[in-house]
Amino acid sequence: RELKLGLIVPGSHAWSKAAETFGEDLEKQSGGEYSVAVFPAGQLGSEAQMLQQLQTGALDMAFMTAAEVANRVPDLGALFAPYLAENVMEADRLLNGPTAQALLEELPRKAGVVGLGYGVAGMRLMLTAFPAEDVQGINDHKIRITPFPPVQDFYRLLGAVSTPMPVTDVYDALANGQVDGVDADLELVWKLRLYERAKTVLRSNHMMFPVVGLISARTWSQLDQDDRDLIRTLTRKRLAELAPYYQKSQAETQAQIEAKNVKVIEVGLDFFGDKLDQWEELWMKKTPVLGELRGEAAEL
């Protein structure tokens, strides 16, 4: 049986590579009973459309941003708490901890999909076309963001003017000044060559950016226990490899970007002053999951 697996990121992205190698593993270990056809680059539609196709069973699997899944399971927004994890390795450990894993259990009921496991992308940072020397410097600047509550709240509290737009428009928007900053990771800055249009990287590592391995609940119900275990194990194996991959690639990418005369400023928690407390206060009210995650993170 051929499983169809969709992604929004291009074929060359690490998430797509993880999907490909997962497919090879599955074909080998199932003795050819299963194979996987990967559809990268949003060929089957936006993430929202893919989610709907997972629900009908037209699509079997997807590696999807946690941001999109959080539209159905708002508690997942807590994963985007500023400075919940210091780096990608820590993010991975937290995502494999009891609280984050328990969030996956809500998926079948709330979204009609089964969550197999998490992976990561690079830590979020800001690329700015203005010298961002302190947090007040961000005030009133137009920053392109992924429109989704935890990120929106974060930039609102910073006083920034958050501007949602498709990732394909960001380069031009930076060029003509429609935005003067981007919430991104190093990979995005490098691969879309956004550094050509904005010369300061504020390496804040302020949020993690998880990917969730999903399988259609309809497909899931047709599998026997052995096959389910096999698919879950192999998906988790390849998603788990993303953290060490990004740990290594982030350092390399930063060096490449610095070689292009981009100023990389490493900033931490204290850069943001009391803005983080305000965010925390807001989100503690929104979901109890945040408290549990903070507790777990403290023990890492």
């Binding site: 929202a48 989610l51 709907q52 629900q55 009908t56 069973g57 539209n71 159905r72 009921r109 709330k110 979204a111 009609g112 009133d140 137009k142 429109p147 989704f148 929106q152 003017v161 958050s162 501007t163 949602p164 737009m165 609940a217 309809r218």
Partner: protein, 189 residues
Amino acid sequence: MIQVLSDFLGRLERVVLRALVVLIPVMILVNVAARAFRAPIFWLDELAVLTMVWLAMIGLSVTLKHRDAVAVTLLTDAVPAAARKGLRLASDLVVLAFAVIFLILCYRWFDPIGLVNSGLDLEAFAAETFNYMYQEPTATLGIAKFWFWLIMPVVAFTASVHALANLLVTLRAPGADFQQVRPGAEGVD
């Protein structure tokens, strides 16, 4: 009867269409101005795009009513009048079939009976049917997406009415009426 309903819906659609053509640039301009004054309305882009989808769907319905959509007329121009009537009938039937099937697909998608059976409880409905269409959010507008999706069944219905009315006109018309290329028609040859 069908003809009267079709004409009535057509008039209504044309009024809405004009309004949407004005509304879209106004929304965009407001957005540009608001951003210039650093008070951007972050949901306005999404609303403009969804309004454009409404414009497109209603525009489709109007063009089907007036047989105004682009079609290939190479063959229909070349054959004698009687055959032309036959082709017209076949084409009208296809349009009607599409509109009706589309309406049925929308019905299955919105599943109103299932929704009522689960006591209008959206979560229970989704759990029972694996249909999460009522839970789908918009990215920035803060309301459910299905309000905008409603245009699909609406247009499926109006297009069905228009297609049926057109089919009846074709059926009743004597073959001799199909001598000339229909007025306003354009085609690839």
